[in-house]
Symmetry: C2
Amino acid sequence: MRGRTRAVGRVRIADVAQRAGVSKGAASFALNGRPGVSAETRERVLRIAADMGWRPNTAARALAGGRSDTIGLVLNRPPRVRGVEPLLQHYLEGMQDELVDHAITLRMQVVSGHAAELATYDQWASGNGVDGLVVIDLRVDDDRPRALQTLGLPAVTLGDPRYTSGLPTVWTDDVGAAHELVDALVALGHRRLARVTSGSRLAYSRVRTDALTEAAAARGLPAPAVVQSEGGSAAAPEATRQLLDRPAADRPTAIVYENDVQAMAGTGVAAELGLDVPGDVSMVAWDSSGISRLTRPTLTVMTRDARAEAACAVRMLLELVEGAPAQQLQAPTARLELRASTGPAPDDDRRRPPLSLPGS
Amino acid sequence: MRGRTRAVGRVRIADVAQRAGVSKGAASFALNGRPGVSAETRERVLRIAADMGWRPNTAARALAGGRSDTIGLVLNRPPRVRGVEPLLQHYLEGMQDELVDHAITLRMQVVSGHAAELATYDQWASGNGVDGLVVIDLRVDDDRPRALQTLGLPAVTLGDPRYTSGLPTVWTDDVGAAHELVDALVALGHRRLARVTSGSRLAYSRVRTDALTEAAAARGLPAPAVVQSEGGSAAAPEATRQLLDRPAADRPTAIVYENDVQAMAGTGVAAELGLDVPGDVSMVAWDSSGISRLTRPTLTVMTRDARAEAACAVRMLLELVEGAPAQQLQAPTARLELRASTGPAPDDDRRRPPLSLPGS
DNA sequence: CTGAAAGCGCTTACAG
DNA sequence: CTGAAAGCGCTTACAG
């Protein structure tokens, strides 16, 4: 069934070369846009290849050391959080947007563990399995940028340059966004903020938490309570309970979640505890999966175009593969979109004096 | 930067063979579990390969006509519905679950258009780019099963056998599920059902709609109103408005959506129209992304393990590649999980005589 | 049961 | 600017 029977009618580069009256090598040069062949020859070869329906054999190309027209993505997640959460969903969509226009394949490998991830990169590098990589889920102590540099594999990441170790990146200014968010909450009378994070070692999570803390300090607010919700959105209810299950004077009046699924879960917990959203506590989601208008109450979110960012990262990667220089591209900063889950802080919060003074 | 420099320290099958004192061919046989080599030789080769850290070069293997340790998935979706909707999300997760255990790569190609999809299959088949395929989004008039048979590409699909043209499949009995659902709605006093579908040509959507219609007829209910919501969840609000924006006597008292995102959107529209869920209208989602417990009201859903189904499909595919016979595997039928979005039909509906008699 | 050889389709130095 | 040849790492008939 498999084996060495060539698919019927499959046209090889040798067929194109013969028909064009040139050598295989010349045809290859023409087809790959390399110098060493006259303009008219190139054009003829191209036309004949199109006529005959030639398409490169990816395996042969890869084996010979050429382009594989494939980019790689490794997903390293423990099974229990292997869900496709909102941000990854947008990233996948954005990558698809760009790939479909370039007839590029996405090679996706799921691994459980850091060692397995590096082994995958090693194998891809040595087998020309991919032309380049998109690296996501950057951590604060990530050694993948360095490993990839050693392997000589072009790679682009999505995340704040301070954690990318020089890897080309598409990023957004979450620090600026955090300040806008805190300003808006302060304007609503909030002083006791809280933050539910996806994981303490995820770079983007860290950047946001740090920025929120700084912004709060700059406005003279007490340091936001920070609760880790490792293990995906499933842990968000527990994190929320931890924050809300205390006397009103201690309770945060606004919680900032990593994404809207977490915020929905948190809103449910608030209801269970007899708290009104936004009457008693305001809820904000940073990343949105697009359901923020559909929830009751509708969710206030930090909006940015993660999908476009991922598309942009892929474009950058393809250019990088072509030899373009590495860059750090800043995408538009997230903007606050106010909806029904946020409102003025509860009255008691406004009547009391600040709990602490500026300058943490 | 790229080119013919072999990655440092990369061990080839020839290195393994030399160290084991056998020919390359013998080593290949041993490594691939084929007959033609003694048990002790095989074991020695295997041990040495492991010691030396040998891993197959995928491209070389593919080119020589062997296993590529890759399975393919083509996503053919117009850009505007290129979102990762709940069902696809579960499928991706389930495929990942199975792939990670087998060190298999997923080759994913996004295309826009049927012709491009078939061209991709053709290229993969002729280049040994994949060992097999998972085919999703089966349509009622799908010619992909036949095309794949012609290409000789092993493939497994997810969907009702009546639309798979003999392709091996993992499927669930949506007809049985529809009957359970209608029974439950009838028990709550509902008589005017409605159905919002993902698309009239999607096989699973068609099966469900037909089954709901049959089940309604069997219970003596009028035929459910059916509204297409092509273009993803974005169209669900419009579809819902169409159903609910009529006099109470004409209005459905229960709407069955394709997934929970649609149902959330529909619930929002009901609120806009001043209708209470479930007081005036009950809402049911067929596929759930896991947020059905988080919405307000919580959503009644048809629960099944789509993730496990996808994992099972991949397992079947890998066995098929190994030469196992094709099969049709029936996964557990979806069960109804009643939550707050469904309740007794509005009173006026019970007081009136049936609108029609059994036997559509 | 094993070895030596050809071949998969392409790219790329190397001569002309 | 072009041709002829070697080689990428593997698999698989074909002889022994």
